[in-house]
């Protein structure tokens, strides 16, 4: 297992994309958060300080007005963990260096999860920094509400990265996995939700299924005031942070399990 971890760690840090993705994520987060915080004063009159700080830290994702952009970039690191193996035939070199497939898979999962969590936390701290500079935080920086949002962001990004890794391991095609990770959470789930609502107009409860859309459910871990809005708009009650988090966790677990089984049974 240590051999697999050492291999994966060195694999990660000897490739340019790792640096680009991490540097790019942190830089964009810094620029975006500064702009958002510097222009937050109009909403400070409507929302309380805790909500404003959460919105700055999550770049609007806590209000559901934008997807959690950092998760999408960090998720690419998860995709690349297996995508690079299959895009360039590296998997054969990897498995002749570390033939224990379970160890290879576990090492990739642990590395992806750890990196995603640390980066997501880093992004949140950048958001807090921006808020501290521009926003009248009134002590919200250390409030339980803000830190619950941050915990949600970190968990969501970690699960997102793991889903990216599992997707790449299943489809064994980097481009396909990138496309899926960009499309499924943001586009395909929205379309499915719309279809469910349309179907439910005939009097069925199909719209109730929309709460199980995994990435939408997972976003409840950091989305705050939207529950009653969603109920009004779509006619169903979303899960709360815990329930939504469990739905995404379960989805990720199934995806990872499928990927692990396929990885150990398929030809390299």
């Amino acid at each position: 297992m240590t051999a697999a971890l050492k291999y994966e760690w060195r694999r990660l840090w000897t490739i340019r994309s790792t640096y680009w993705l991490i540097g790019g994520t942190l830089l964009l987060q810094l620029v975006f958060c500064m702009i958002a915080a510097a222009n937050a004063s109009p909403i400070e009159t409507i929302f309380d300080a805790e909500e404003v700080v959460s919105a700055v830290v999550s770049l609007g994702a806590s209000y559901g007005v934008s997807p959690l952009f950092s998760a999408y970039i960090i998720g690419l690191l998860g995709v690349f963990s297996f995508g690079h193996e299959y895009r360039h035939g590296m998997i054969r070199a990897t498995l002749t260096a570390v033939p224990d497939r379970a160890a290879v898979f576990l090492a990739k999962a642990l590395t992806t999860a750890a990196l995603a969590a640390v980066l997501a936390l880093g992004c949140a701290l950048i958001g807090l920094l921006a808020a501290a500079i521009f926003v009248d935080t009134q002590g919200a920086m250390s409030s339980a509400g803000v830190w619950q949002v941050i915990l949600g962001l970190v968990l969501y990004t970690t699960l997102f990265g793991l889903c990216g890794m599992a997707t790449a391991a299943i489809v064994r095609n980097q481009t396909g996995a990138v496309a899926l990770m960009l499309l499924v959470p943001s586009v395909i789930e929205s379309v499915i939700r719309l279809l469910l609502i349309l179907v439910s107009q005939g009097g069925s409860d199909a719209n109730e299924l929309a709460r199980f859309l995994p990435f939408d459910a997972g976003s409840q871990m950091f989305a705050r005031p939207a529950a009653d809005v969603i109920t009004d708009m779509f006619g169903y009650d979303p899960f709360g942070p815990v329930g939504g988090g469990l739905v995404l966790t379960l989805f990720a677990a199934v995806l990872i399990a499928a990927a692990a089984v396929l990885f150990s049974s398929r030809d390299a």
């Binding site: 291999y7 360039h88 070199a93 002749t96 033939p99 224990d100 390299a268």
Partner: protein, 307 residues
């Protein structure tokens, strides 16, 4: 030093058998050539041996399967077809990554880069490498752990004549140190110079295995050239022993199915005069074409008049 034992290797892709019940042994201290026509299952066999493909059968290296080896690259070095490296990971970093998983010191990375002649491009990206340089990087990876066993799939691919010569001498030297070397190639002239032992397959089946010399002498293409004024008496006597006689253009006779000694003895019995009696060995290529003639996967079309 390790004995490679492949037992009953089998693999089918989508119901089409690629390798069928293939067993052979590779002994230390020798270069064992792995021959077969295109699509005969050589690469599949090597992937099965390394556990990269899931199939039936088992391959052991001194009793242990590849998957159960600890620090496998220190025991079995492998070079497989295609270029298994990331195009923008520098050559030295690629090898350091493999090294760290096998407890090979980083200093060994520069040693093998030097050994394969890539010491001037250690910080270059493989995407700019020629086919031959890529192949050298693959060979460097195989040698990284100073393994007692090497499994090399078409290692001379893309190498220039000097490179092929270098590789041949390197493999012979490694074999003379007592290592087990299993190497596939479609270059028969190269194999004739390199290998001591052969494993020949066709359509996934074992055709023969054993010393190169035995393979060649067993070939029907190995014949005895006879020059005699008394073929009228010698001919029927030879035919009676199961030999086949063909008249050559220069008036000599090409006899197959019996040895040089047998021809001499038969001539003595029937009091036929012999002006010349010599064995003409088949080349490895002739022996190979004969052995695998019926088991080609892909048969090309020969334009009329090409013979």
């Amino acid at each position: 030093m390790a004995v490679i034992e492949a037992r009953s290797l089998s693999k089918a892709y989508g119901g089409k058998p690629a390798v069928v019940d293939l067993s052979f042994t590779v002994q230390p201290g020798s270069v064992t050539g792995f021959l077969g026509p295109n699509g005969s299952g050589k690469s599949t066999t090597m992937r099965l041996m390394l556990g990269l493909d899931n199939g039936a059968g088992v391959t052991t290296f001194d009793g242990t399967t590849f998957r159960d080896l600890t620090a496998p690259m220190r025991q079995v070095g492998a070079l497989l077809e295609a270029k298994p490296f990331h195009p923008t990971r520098k050559a030295r970093n690629h090898l350091r990554m493999l090294a760290v998983a096998n407890n090979v010191p980083d200093s060994r990375v520069d040693e093998v880069l030097d050994l394969v002649g890539l010491s001037s491009v250690t910080t270059n990206k493989p995407k700019n490498f020629s086919l031959g340089m890529g192949q050298r990087l693959g060979i460097a990876a195989a040698l990284l752990g100073d393994p007692h066993t090497l499994i090399l799939d078409e290692p001379s691919n893309g190498l220039d004549p000097q490179g092929i010569n270098w590789l041949r001498n390197l493999l012979k030297q490694l074999a003379s140190q007592g290592r087990s070397i299993f190497v596939s190639s479609h270059l028969l002239s190269e194999m004739a110079l390199l290998a001591d032992q052969l494993v020949v397959i066709g359509r996934g089946h074992l055709i023969t295995s054993g010393p190169v010399a035995d393979f060649i002498s067993a070939s029907a293409r190995t014949s005895v050239i006879v020059r005699t004024p008394d073929m009228t008496t010698l001919g029927p006597a030879l035919a009676g022993r199961g030999a086949h006689v063909v008249t050559a253009a220069d008036g000599s006779y090409v006899v197959t199915g019996v040895s040089q000694e047998q021809v001499g003895d038969i001539a003595h019995e029937v009091r036929a005069r012999l002006h010349e009696l010599v064995t003409q060995h088949a080349t490895l290529e002739e022996a190979f074409l004969e052995a695998t003639g019926m088991s080609q996967e892909f048969i090309g079309y020969e334009p009329p008049g090409s013979r």
